[in-house]
C-alpha cells in the first residue's frame, strides 16, 4: 500500500494565488483608473489654464492695441514728455477692470509714466523690446503674484518698415486668473479622487465576479481530495472559467465512476476469498478429524512404515491448510470491517507468561516486563500478535536463537519489543515484512507459517489503534515493536 499523499494540501499551498489575483486585479484597476483620471484631469486642467491665460493675454493686447490705435495717430514725430505722459494717462485710464499700468519709452529712452511709479516690468522684456518689431508678452512673478507684461511697439504711419520709435509697455496682475486656475485645479483634483475610489469598488466587484468560480473550484477540489467524489461545481455562463468548471465536473464524474467500479470489484474479490475460506473450512474440519485417527494409527506402528509416513505427511499438510484457511477467514473479517475489540483490563506480565507457556516457549524466551503493569486491551488479539512475533523470531533466528520480550510503558503508550540475535531481516524485505504472503526465504516456500501471520498481527495492532514496526538492531538481529495506546479506541 503506497503512502497516502495529500494532493489537496499541495493544491492549497498554491492557492494564495487567488488572493494574489484579487490584489493584482484591484491594483491594475486602480492604477488604470487613477492614471486615466489623472491624465484626463491633468490635460483638462492644463488646457483650461492655457485657455484662461491666453485669453486674458489676447484680450489685454487687443484692448491695448485698440486704444493705442485710437490715440497714436495724434502723436507728433517729436513727442514731448508731456505728450507721452498724456498718452500714458489715457491708456492707464482705459485699463478698465484689468488695472494695467502703462509706461512709454521713446527711441529707447527712459520709461515715461502718467503716475509717479513705473509698472513692474521684467528686465528681459525691456531688453528684447528695444529691438523687437513685434509685440511681446511675458508672464512673470512679482511679489508672489503672477503678472503679465506686454510690450507693444508703435511704428510711424509714414515709415512702417523702419524700427518702431515708440514702445508702449503695460503690465497687470493675473491674480484673478490665478484664482480661476486654482478653482480649476481644485475641481480637477476633487474629480480624480472619487474616480479612483469608485474604481476600487468596481475592481473589487470584478475580482469577486471573476474569482467566485475559482473559489468554488478550489473548495470542490479540496472536498474531492478529502474523498467527496460526488462533489460538483455549479457552472454558469460560457466563459473560460465555465469551461474549466465543466471539465472539473466531467473529471469528478469519471473519477467517481472509476472509484465505484473499483470498490465493487474489490468487494467482490473479498467476498470471494471469504466464501472460499468458509467453504473450505467444513471439509477441512472433517479431514482434520480423520487425520487425527490416522495419526493415532500410524503412531501405533500397526501400519507399514511407508504408509505411516505418507499418512503423517497428509495430516501435516491438512493441519497447515486448516491453519491457512483460519488465517484467511481472519483476514477477510478484518477486510470486511467485522473485527471488533473485546477490551479487558489485563496484567501484561501475566498475559505474556500465559502466551509463552501455552506454546512451551517459556524456556526459550527471556522477558523484561515491569511487574504489575496493567493495560486495557483485547487479550486474545494481543496474544495472537505476540505469538506471531515470538514464533517468527524463533523460526527465523536459527537454532540457538535468544529471544527477548521487553515491555516499556509511558503515560499514553505501551511498547512491546520482541528482539532476537539472529541474522535479522534482509534489507530488501524490510519494507514488505507486514505484507500478506511475504516470506523471509523466497526459495524455501514451504514453511510452517501461512504467510499471513504478520499481516494479521498488523491488523490487530491497527484495531487497537497501535502500530507494528520492524527494524534491524545495530548489532544484528531483528526488533519487532508493537506499540499500543494505553487507552485504545
Amino acid at each position: 500500500m503506497t503512502r497516502l499523499r495529500l494532493p489537496g494540501r499541495a493544491a492549497v499551498t498554491r492557492w494564495p494565488l487567488a488572493r494574489g489575483l484579487r490584489a493584482q486585479l484591484v491594483l491594475v484597476f486602480l492604477l488604470v483608473s487613477a492614471l486615466s483620471a489623472l491624465t484626463a484631469a491633468a490635460f483638462t486642467f492644463r488646457q483650461g489654464r492655457t485657455a484662461i491665460v491666453e485669453r486674458v493675454q489676447a484680450d489685454a493686447l487687443q484692448e491695448l492695441r485698440a486704444h493705442l490705435t485710437a490715440r497714436a495717430p495724434d502723436l507728433p514725430a517729436d513727442p514731448t514728455e508731456a505728450d507721452l505722459r498724456t498718452l500714458a494717462l489715457q491708456l492707464d485710464r482705459a485699463a478698465g477692470t484689468r488695472g494695467w499700468r502703462t509706461a512709454l519709452s521713446y527711441r529707447g529712452g527712459p520709461l515715461i509714466t502718467a503716475g509717479a511709479q513705473a509698472p513692474p516690468l521684467p528686465a528681459r522684456l525691456r531688453t528684447q523690446a528695444t529691438s523687437a518689431t513685434t509685440a511681446l508678452a511675458q508672464r512673470f512673478h512679482y511679489a508672489q503674484t503672477p503678472w503679465l507684461a506686454v510690450a507693444l511697439p508703435v511704428v510711424a504711419a509714414a515709415r512702417p518698415q523702419s524700427p518702431p520709435p515708440l514702445t508702449v509697455y503695460a503690465s497687470f496682475s493675473l491674480a484673478s486668473q490665478q484664482q480661476d486656475v486654482d478653482t480649476l485645479a481644485a475641481a480637477a483634483r476633487s474629480g480624480a479622487l472619487p474616480v479612483a475610489l469608485a474604481s476600487i469598488v468596481l475592481a473589487l466587484l470584478a475580482a469577486r465576479r471573476l474569482l467566485r468560480p475559482v473559489r468554488q473550484l478550489r473548495t470542490a477540489a479540496e472536498r474531492m481530495a478529502d474523498g467527496g467524489l460526488d462533489t460538483r461545481v455549479n457552472v454558469t455562463g460560457d466563459d473560460e472559467l465555465a469551461d474549466l468548471g465543466r471539465t472539473f465536473n466531467t473529471m469528478a464524474a469519471t473519477l467517481q465512476a472509476d472509484a465505484a467500479a473499483l470498490r465493487a470489484m474489490e468487494a467482490r474479490a473479498r467476498r470471494f476469498a471469504a466464501d472460499v475460506s468458509h467453504e473450505l473450512r467444513t471439509p477441512l474440519a472433517a479431514m482434520a478429524a480423520v487425520t487425527e485417527v490416522l495419526d493415532a494409527d500410524a503412531a501405533s506402528g500397526r501400519l507399514a512404515p511407508l504408509t505411516a509416513e505418507a499418512l503423517h505427511l497428509v495430516s501435516d499438510e491438512t493441519r497447515k491448510l486448516t491453519h491457512l484457511v483460519e488465517d484467511l477467514i481472519e483476514v477477510s473479517r478484518f477486510d470486511a470491517g467485522a473485527a471488533v475489540l473485546h477490551l479487558d483490563e489485563i496484567d501484561l506480565a501475566q498475559l505474556i507468561a500465559k502466551t509463552l507457556a501455552l506454546r512451551h516457549w517459556q524456556d526459550r524466551v527471556r522477558t523484561d516486563v515491569p511487574p504489575g503493569l496493567r493495560a486495557r486491551l483485547d487479550p486474545r488479539r494481543v496474544d495472537v500478535i505476540l505469538a506471531n512475533l515470538v514464533g517468527n523470531a524463533l523460526r527465523h533466528g536459527g537454532t540457538a536463537v535468544s529471544v527477548l520480550i521487553r515491555v516499556r510503558a509511558d503515560t499514553d503508550r505501551i511498547s512491546i519489543a520482541v528482539s532476537d540475535d539472529g541474522p535479522g531481516i534482509p534489507a530488501d524485505l524490510l519494507p514488505h515484512v507486514f505484507d500478506r504472503f511475504t516470506k523471509a526465504d523466497a526459495a524455501r516456500t514451504r514453511t510452517d507459517g501461512s504467510g499471513l501471520g504478520l499481516a494479521i498481527a498488523t491488523e490487530n495492532a491497527r484495531l487497537h489503534g497501535g502500530t507494528l514496526t520492524a527494524v534491524n538492531a545495530p548489532h544484528g538481529g531483528a526488533v519487532l515493536t508493537l506499540t499500543l495506546p494505553r487507552d485504545p479506541p
Binding site: L21, A94, P160, M224, L244
Partner: protein, 210 residues
C-alpha cells in the same frame, strides 16, 4: 486494495492545480500583469510628478512674440501741427491737425469750435463745447493769451473749459505752461487759468483773480 479513493487523486489534482492558473491567466496575460503594475506605476509617477512640478498656478514665460506692432502718427513734427483738445472717455486728448500759415491760435480755436472730424469721431473723440453763434475771440498780447468766450463759464462743463484752455495753451510760441486769461461776456475781470499735465483747466494760483 486502497480503502480511500483519494489515492487516485494526486495526478488529477496536480494537473488541475497546474491548469487552473493557466486557464485564469494565460502566460502572456500573466507576464503582462506582472509587468503592468510596474509600467503603470512608473507612468503614474511621471504623470503625478509632471502635474505637481508644473505647478497648479500660472507659470512664468519668456518674452514671446504676441502679434503685430501698433501703427501710429509720429510723422509730422509738432511745429507743423495744430493741437486741438477734444474729449475721450479717458479725458481730454490733443488731436493733431496740419497747420496752415497764419494765426495758429485762431486756427486752433476755429477748429475747436468746428468739432472733431468724422475720422476723429471714429477714433472716439467728441467735443463738449456747445455750439456758438459767435466765434471765440482769441489773441496773444505780450505772450499772454486772452480768450473771449461767447458763453458764460458756468454754463460750460468743466471738460469744455479744459478743451478751450488746453487748446489755447498748446499753441506754439507761448512758452512752458502759459496762463490763459478767460473773459466771459458781460464780465470785465478775466479768469487766469492754466492747463495742467492731465489736460485739465486749473485756476492759476500765482495770478491775481479779481
Amino acid at each position: 486494495m486502497p480503502k480511500n479513493e483519494s489515492e487516485h487523486m494526486p495526478g488529477v489534482l496536480r494537473r488541475m492545480a497546474a491548469v487552473m492558473p493557466e486557464v485564469l491567466m494565460p502566460d502572456v496575460l500573466r507576464r503582462v500583469a506582472a509587468v503592468m503594475p510596474r509600467v503603470l506605476c512608473r507612468m503614474a509617477a511621471v504623470l503625478i510628478a509632471a502635474a505637481t512640478l508644473a505647478g497648479c498656478g500660472i507659470t512664468d514665460t519668456d518674452a514671446l512674440p504676441a502679434g503685430q506692432p501698433a501703427r501710429g502718427g509720429l510723422t509730422e513734427n509738432s511745429s507743423r501741427l495744430l493741437r486741438v483738445y477734444f474729449v475721450t472717455p479717458q479725458g481730454t486728448w490733443p488731436v493733431s491737425r496740419p497747420a496752415s500759415a497764419g494765426d495758429r491760435l485762431r486756427q486752433a480755436m476755429d477748429a475747436l469750435l468746428a468739432g472733431p472730424t468724422a475720422a476723429e469721431r471714429a477714433r472716439g473723440l467728441i467735443t463738449r463745447l456747445p455750439s456758438a453763434t459767435r466765434p471765440i475771440r482769441a489773441r496773444t498780447t505780450n505772450g499772454r493769451v486772452e480768450l473771449r468766450l461767447p458763453w458764460l463759464v458756468r454754463d460750460l462743463r468743466p471738460v469744455a473749459v479744459s478743451q478751450l484752455v488746453c487748446t489755447a495753451a498748446a499753441v506754439p510760441g507761448l512758452g512752458d505752461d502759459p496762463v490763459i486769461k478767460v473773459f466771459e461776456p458781460g464780465l470785465a475781470d478775466p479768469w487766469p487759468v492754466r492747463c495742467d499735465e492731465s489736460g485739465s483747466a486749473v485756476p492759476d494760483e500765482q495770478g491775481a483773480p479779481s
